[in-house]
Amino acid sequence: MKKNWKLQAAAPILALVGAAVIAGIILAATGNDPGDVLQVIVDDGFETRRVVDTLNRAAPYYIAGVAVAIGFKMTLFNIGVEGQYRLAALVAAWAGASVNLPAPLHVLFILMVAVITGAAWAAIPGLLRATRGVHEVISSIMLNSIALGLGAFLLHRWFRAPAGEYPGAVGTEVLPTPGRLPLLNGLVEKLGVDLPPGTRLQSYIFIALIIGVAYHLVISRTRFGFDLRASGSNPEAAEASGVDPKRMVVVTMVLSGAVAGLIGLNNVMSNVGDQARYTDVSVVGGLGFTGIAIALLGRNHPVGIALGALLWAFMDALQTPLSSAQLPKQITAILQGVAVLSVVIAYEVVRRIEQRQQASSLRRDSEPPPASEVAPA
């Protein structure tokens, strides 16, 4: 039978309402007026400036969510996205600053280096799992630490720009202009939206969009995607159907890592002079772990992950106006956490209701079998 879409839509709505109620209670309990916070959200949250901020922040979250979701689809837990993107961003930033190519090629070159680095780093836990049976959670957590250490070593030993060349943190050389992603401000203004001064809409969001479409097509429309989902659902049945389980583990980890490689590039490839380089400020940590939460929020679904990433980014973007209104900005972090938990719970409840409905409709249709039909003479 068709999925009951009303039930499907009820789950996220219920979860969000639940999260809002809990956050309201916490606000009230800590002596704040939930109404004030709501006021800020309504007044400030949908200003053009905030919307642009939300979109820019959502893009890396989305890519991180997809990277994790690829693993989840075959019950592989790539907790190493964190290390994969940070290493990939560093290597890509360094490689991008070391060459001179025409604009589109230069951008493509940087993206490819990031993808390959992420994929290679993720291949290690994949190969360890396939050949030695080492669980990917263990190995990829450990590889996160190694990636950080290796990154710091590479940066300080070979990749760093000469001291004093740029203000601020230690980092790589700045990317030449052809290697940077253009801003979308011009395009948006042509569409009749005036951006406030100082806001920049990054074209990086298109990369997220492309990743999303590709993820959807590969997972649900291709033979490979079918193999991947089958392996996640029942590895033994998948093997009997002709899937090589070891190869599948490696390929899935590599794919997940390849996507992860793109996460940290929004600031590295930004179009703002001194910032278009790898530093500990331009490539923030923790996106890989946020990606896990967002994949959970979005139920591994391409659109769901997008909504999760937007919600998460929206909460982040609210921190500034909340602070300026003398309200506790930490409430956004609480909301993010509560939202993940409520979504997980709400979907499980909906899943059980659906299962029960399906079972009872089957009973109606096929039980008890009339004796005359059951027995061919």
């Binding site: 039978m1 068709k2 999925k3 429309r221 291709t222 033979r223 490979f224 995607g225 079918f226 193999d227 989902r229 089958a230 659902s233 029942n234 033994e236 049945a237 998948a238 093997e239 009997a240 159907s241 002709g242 899937v243 090589d244 299962q355 399906q358 079972a359 009872s360 409709s361 089957l362 009973r363 109606r364 249709d365 096929s366 039980e367 008890p368 079998p369 009339p370 004796a371 005359s372 039909e373 059951v374 027995a375 061919p376 003479a377």
Partner: protein, 534 residues
Amino acid sequence: MMRLGTAVPSLIRPPGVCVPASRIDDGSVAAVELKGIVKRFPGVIANDDVNLTVAPGTVHALVGENGAGKSTLMKILYGMQHPDEGTITIGGERVEFKSPTDAIRHGIGMVHQHFMLADNLTVLENVILGYEPTRFGVIDFDGARRRIEELTELYGLPVEPDVRVERLGVGDRQRVEILKVLFRGATTLILDEPTAVLVPQEVDELFDNLSDLKSQGITILFISHKLDEVLTVADDITVMRAGTTVAARKPADVTSHQLAELMVGSELPTPETRESTVTDQVCLELSGITVCREDGRPDVDDVSIEIHQGEIVGIAGVEGNGQTQLIAAIMGTTTTRSGSISLDGDDITHWPTRRRREAGLGYVPEDRHRHGLLLDAPLWENQILGHQTQEPNARGPWIDRRAARARTEELVEQFDVRTPTIDVMAGALSGGNQQKLIIGRELMAGPVAMIAAHPTRGVDVGAQAAIWDQLRDARHDGLATLLISADLEELIGLSDTLLVIYKGRIVARLDPAATSPEELGSHMTGAAAAGGAG
């Protein structure tokens, strides 16, 4: 383990169970009496005027097809469902159960088909889990241990209380489940298809245990559709069909064939294959296949089989004699030590599984849940499984959803898979319908050769007949089939050639037309090969 059958049973009986009331033939009070039970679910009557009387201290078998209402009835008796009409009387006392707790209080215990044990706890801990005896507020392990030792001696259930459950075999686990129920003071045990998970030797042990329990006054309700077992172990048999009890028989007065007819309500189909369709052309050929375990001992030892177009070759054998490994070798999911396999003239010995599938190797796995289905995926995706690179399911690297769905509609129609739509999750279908889906999927792909492992295991008589028909039709159309089964009648009835596997070797080659199940049985135990009865 010692067996002392002389301890006093009343020690472990909860008080207040024996109040005389309704009497059965020999004058004793019925342990369980169900009268006029009716249970309706929306749109269906699961139980309709069910009457069941169980004499104390007997093994009472309840038989019926899948969906005949056995499970619902047992859930009612165990307090998990409430009857809409009718009465339950336990030991003469009219009762109404609100929950399993009430049922347990009245001495009713249930041993589920799927064990509910915590692997990382010991037998003792599992037995007391949820029913911990306490002394001064802490768990009284010593008291529990004494109680368990008492029970194991009294009922001849040999278990070690301090072994972790993860180290136990299936038979032992089942004994722990039984012990758990007895520990809670049960005097009537409901066993839901207890032999489904056991190998033959374990079945024998279980039956020994049951007769010990019976001799100590425990009443046993035994749900099954394995009729031979029912006839061996039961004192009384009640047959259910389409939600109601249709007959009560004594095992001495009825044959398994008659029981099956009572279950189905009409004359039974037989698995007989009529005229031969065997041709000269060899479709699947194994020569000298050897599969070894890690320690080097062979699971499959130098097996050579030829299957011709239009031929069904049956492999008989007690489970665990290499059948699983032989299947894996043909499917390419295990590595062979030596030997070669050819399919339709091509040497496929070193081909990966997918290439073998694409070359026309069909597969009906012995465990459909583990190897044959994606239970949380819809039927149409399950129809793709195993054929995801083939027409019409695939077009280039893409899955052709529309064609795959159309194929599934056709399959559901043609193979009589009973489902409202093809978007139902495979896990929601009954076992018989799941199996019809798998058979249909494999046959519609037009295989050259097919492995059919236990094709009718755990399916009801109706689906069994349909599956036999389909296998016969496929044979007629030229399919080479390797049939592996534990059902001797099925093997003798369907096969053109019958091979017996014993300890990984083919030990006999028989003509099914001239072989009786008894003869086959003696080959399977290796007795005939050893040249005597041993």
